[in-house]
């Protein structure tokens, strides 16, 4: 069965302190790995889709990378507005559903 594990569960950073969030996955036939940002009580906001090992995507202070077993979301010089829960999800070939990890709650202090 698909498994997605995110670490750490929670992360507190000072503004400007760069760090990385990890998403480990076990899935046979990866169709895509997805990163979302979710603010409390709101819908997941799409960040990145990665399809194959070695792929990297970047947007503003965020960079997502993918290997055969895990993905990293690197946050460079974060700002308080980056505070949110970051969700990782995978889709397996032959299935429509996304399987989510439990997320990393990020708090960036000024």
């Amino acid at each position: 069965e698909d498994q997605v594990t995110q670490s750490p569960e929670a992360l507190r950073l000072q503004e400007g302190e760069s760090s990385s969030l990890n998403c480990s996955y076990t899935v046979s036939g990866l169709r895509g790995l997805f990163w979302y940002r979710q603010d409390p009580g709101k819908g997941p906001e799409f960040l990145f889709t990665l399809y194959s090992a070695g792929e990297e995507k970047e947007k503003e202070r965020l960079k997502a990378t993918l290997t055969k077993k895990e993905s990293f979301l690197h946050i460079t010089a974060p700002k308080p507005e980056d505070s949110a829960t970051y969700l990782c999800a995978v889709r397996q070939t032959g299935f429509q559903k996304l399987v989510f990890g439990t997320g990393t709650r990020l708090l960036v202090s000024p």
Partner: protein
């Protein structure tokens, strides 16, 4: 850019009542997904539709049913509501032959008293 629209945004029901949640996908998106997110939990897949046909099914209770209409909007019907059904319900949409990304709506917060 247009996003997924969900209605209502908030809903309060009594136990054993019924509820209907609606989802309007992004224009040109033909695939709709429903997810349930309990407090402090990650979203759990319920069901999906493509071209009005069910395309995948997850842990959706038998008390729930859903359908997709010819204009691609979808409705999630929930009957005999239980306290444990209180959650955020998200709809997501995708263009089937395009990229894999599912785009989520703002959600419907259901409270069952």
């Amino acid at each position: 850019a247009a996003g997924v629209i969900q209605s209502p945004r908030h809903l309060i029901k009594e136990k054993r009542e019924t509820a209907t949640l609606k989802c309007y996908p992004i224009p040109r998106h033909d695939t709709v997904y429903w997810y349930q997110q309990g407090p402090g939990q990650d979203p759990q897949f319920l069901i999906s539709f493509y071209e009005k046909m069910q395309s995948d099914k997850g842990s959706i209770p038998d008390r729930f049913s859903a359908q997709q209409f010819s204009d691609y909007h979808s409705e999630l019907n929930m009957s005999s509501l239980e306290l444990g059904d209180s959650a955020l319900y998200f709809c997501a949409s995708r263009f089937r032959t395009g990229e894999e990304t599912q785009y989520f709506g703002p959600g419907t917060r259901l409270l069952v008293l």
